[in-house]
């Protein structure tokens, strides 16, 4: 038989399998029967066995291993870098609607209100371009804290935060200053601007807080306009700002035009250590940038303030 004979062509895969030690018993049997009367396939089988021997030799050829250790150490540092930038995130239900929480190994890096299914999808698509992996178990404890907070069972979210994604050093300073505002207090953008040593940067402060990556954890809802207007929150969600402030005992009035009720709030002058009645001196009419307001004495005292020694809010508290 010639090698081009159909039965020789048909047996060739079995020859290869037998030479490579992969033949089934049936295939081995077929090869034996065929080669018994076909010298050219016998040759072919011998050649395939020789090839297998040479391949085994080739396998034993040492490859340069030195470089592999170098590659390994480069890999280790790239992985460490990647790991530090990697985020785990989860989507959760909350009284404020669906919320996305993301964290890196340094801390919480993102809290985001999601309005619709579409918002969730587009958010997820953008996140997967960052090194983000959906892994709710990594952020579940933050979700629990958040639920406690929204139910009034907790007044602090003492989370480690990762603000490396802040848009600028300026924004980071604004966020850090805002993070120091106590529970139940409100102040103005101008106050934060002065706090970070940039008193004329009120609008820039408002912009920086507009892009707060971790709302609630950094309580930008406690920062309002100089007239006492709630202004905006996380795009068009000023209603959420109202809910968060109300939860903390800050009186808010108005329907379309939400404002804090300044006459119903205690006030602290600049960085003083006392809190006053709104009728104390001219504190009731001072620019918002000079005061921090509290909805109750408890909130002011929780923040470490003492009752003013002249207006004595402890003796003549505001009507609740």
């Amino acid at each position: 038989m010639s090698p081009s004979h159909p039965s020789c062509r048909a047996i060739e895969p079995d020859l290869v399998a037998l030479a490579g030690g992969e033949a089934t018993p049936t295939a081995a049997q077929a090869v034996q029967e065929h080669t018994a009367h076909c010298p050219s396939c016998r040759d072919a089988l011998r050649q395939y066995r020789a090839v297998e021997g040479l391949v085994a030799d080739l396998r034993r050829v040492p490859l340069p291993e030195v470089d592999s250790t170098l590659a390994r150490s480069q890999l280790a540092s790239r992985l460490a870098d990647l790991r530090s930038r990697m985020m785990s995130f989860g989507l959760f239900a909350s009284p404020l609607g669906p919320i996305l929480i993301a964290r890196s190994e340094q801390g919480v890096s993102m809290v985001e209100y999601l309005e619709s299914e579409a918002a969730i999808d587009s958010r997820l698509a953008r996140l997967s371009g960052l090194d983000a992996v959906e892994n709710p178990s990594q952020v579940e404890s933050f979700h629990r804290d958040l639920l406690d907070y929204l139910a009034g069972r907790r007044t602090h979210l003492d989370w480690p935060l990762d603000l490396r994604w802040a848009r600028s050093a300026f924004q980071r300073r604004v966020l850090e200053a805002t993070g120091r505002l106590p529970y139940g207090a409100v102040t103005s953008y101008g106050h934060i601007a002065r706090d970070i040593g940039a008193p004329s940067a009120t609008r820039a402060v408002a912009q920086a807080l507009r892009w707060n990556p971790v709302p609630i954890a950094i309580p930008c809802h406690r920062v309002i306009g100089s007239s006492g207007d709630l202004t905006g929150y996380s795009g068009n969600k000023v209603g959420l700002k109202q809910r968060l402030l109300t939860l903390e005992g800050v009186p808010v009035t108005g329907h379309r035009h939400l404002q804090i009720e300044r006459p119903a709030m205690y006030a602290r002058y600049q960085a003083g250590d006392e809190y006053c009645l709104p009728s104390c001196g001219d504190i009731g009419t001072m620019p918002m940038a000079d005061v921090t307001l509290f909805g109750s004495r408890d909130r002011a005292e929780d923040a470490g303030l003492l009752p003013c020694s002249s207006c004595r809010p402890d003796l003549h508290p505001l009507e609740a």
Binding site: D57, L58, P62, P64, S68, L79, L82, R83, E134, S137
Partner: protein
Amino acid sequence: MGRVMGEDAFEIVVAAHHAEIHRYVLRVTARSTDADDLSQETFIRAFRAHRTLPPDANFRAWLFAIATNVCRNYFRGEKRRRLAYAAAGHDAPAADPAGPDGRVLVSEASGRIDAIVSRLPMKQRLAFTMRKMHDLDYEAIGKSLDCSEDSARAHVFQALKKIRRGLDELASMDTEPVR
């Protein structure tokens, strides 16, 4: 949602498979600098994706599949570069004139196999290398190459057939009959 693999667990994966994946990539590309980059790329991709792997996944086969993809992309890039150089009327920079990193070949014949393998079509070369150099099963090879187990087997078969014919031709040219 797949299981969550701890960071340490990924370190174990790297420790267990890095050297082998590096060897595989080096065999396939025959250039050590590229092999360094490509094996790194393989593990970086693996790291990004490993959290979604099912718990019973075969990690080694999965890493080979990633490495194979990385290599195929690399070859596509190489081809584009060659075409771009050709279109510009230049020769592409010589690819390793000294041969594959001066490794010592045990025999002239195995060196010939190396040469024949390096000229095989990409899928055959990858399938051959996975099967004969790294003992992967056909199912894993099929997954790596995005084809069926039978096609994977056929790629290896074609590779061996060409190696046999190639050695046969060389032997007859050298007038050293193999038979």
